[in-house]
Amino acid sequence: MTNFYKKGVLVNEEQDPVVRRYKAMLVERFGCEQAAAVLGMNRFNNIIYPNLIINAQHQQMRVTIPLAVDLTLIRFYCFRLKGAPDEMFHRAIRFLSTSGSPASMISSDDIEMLERCQRGLVKKASPWVNFARGADSDRRDSDGTVGGAASELPMRVQFEAWVNYLTQ
């Protein structure tokens, strides 16, 4: 976990012999241009609507499965990059244990938050959930809409998609 996310690249990635070996293998197999295109995709979590998150950088996958209105199962998986050094898979396993296990110091607060939000919703104190944070700073570009770090844009676009499916 020391090689954690920082501005879209793994810290020390350039000095890391395992990653260097992986890059060399990619270049050998696909050529410089295609290898650069694969490695150049600079994203951390990719949310696939409605309930899948893929983190290609650390070979992680998360599926949110609603079981009942007040019960949600979250499954974490990791995957092996075909042909990549074994050490990368071992790291993915480590990452899964550290970031996705029930004892994780990273996701357990998120899951606790989900549970407490649910308990709050049961109270019916407010008929609305406000997802407006960051709405004034969202900007559109050719790729879609981009929001700042703490923006609730991901929630807004998912609910927009949901409304579209319901009303189409």
Partner: protein, 160 residues
């Protein structure tokens, strides 16, 4: 190797002290029970022997355990608010030794955690690999086998 009653009792008291430190929230002192190369392991599969190719609920070396202890003492994490109250119960302790100054203690445990009106109970067996250091022991490996290790879990926050 047959162990003297004194040695067995010494190991038992070491385990009971570990449980007491965890229940008292003395996490720094708890971490000091671990050898610098010590590992805390909670497998995700019954009988799991491989922590490299199979995911674990916890597989934490000293550096990550130290991060966990800092977090436990910070009192800021949502999942630790309010701080859970715990009882670590250890029983059926069996101590063996295959090498001088190295001991393996296998025991059954029940762990009860209470937080904000809700109670969780965990049970299973844990195995301590201990090395003798300065009149006491250090934990080289603690393997915690939950009965429901392959089940669905709410967040687990305090080491068991």
């Amino acid at each position: 190797m047959t162990l003297s009653y004194e040695t067995q009792r010494e190991v038992e008291l070491f385990l009971l002290n570990e449980a007491k430190l965890l229940d008292a929230g003395e996490f720094k002192a708890w971490l000091e029970l671990y050898a610098p190369q010590g590992v805390y392991w909670m497998p995700s599969q019954p009988g799991q022997a491989d922590a490299k190719n199979v995911a674990s609920i916890m597989y934490e070396d000293h550096a990550i355990l130290a991060m966990r202890v800092r977090r436990l003492l910070e009192a800021r994490a949502l999942v630790l608010t309010p701080m859970p109250r715990t009882t670590h119960l250890i029983s059926n302790i069996e101590v063996t030794s295959d090498a001088p100054d190295q001991y393996v203690a296998d025991a059954a445990f029940v762990y009860v955690e209470h937080q904000d009106g809700r109670q969780h109970i965990y049970s299973g067996r844990h195995t301590h690999h201990l090395v003798r250091r300065n009149g006491s022991f250090r934990i080289a490996l603690k393997r915690v086998a939950l009965l429901d290790c392959d089940g669905k879990h709410s967040p687990i926050t305090i080491p068991i």
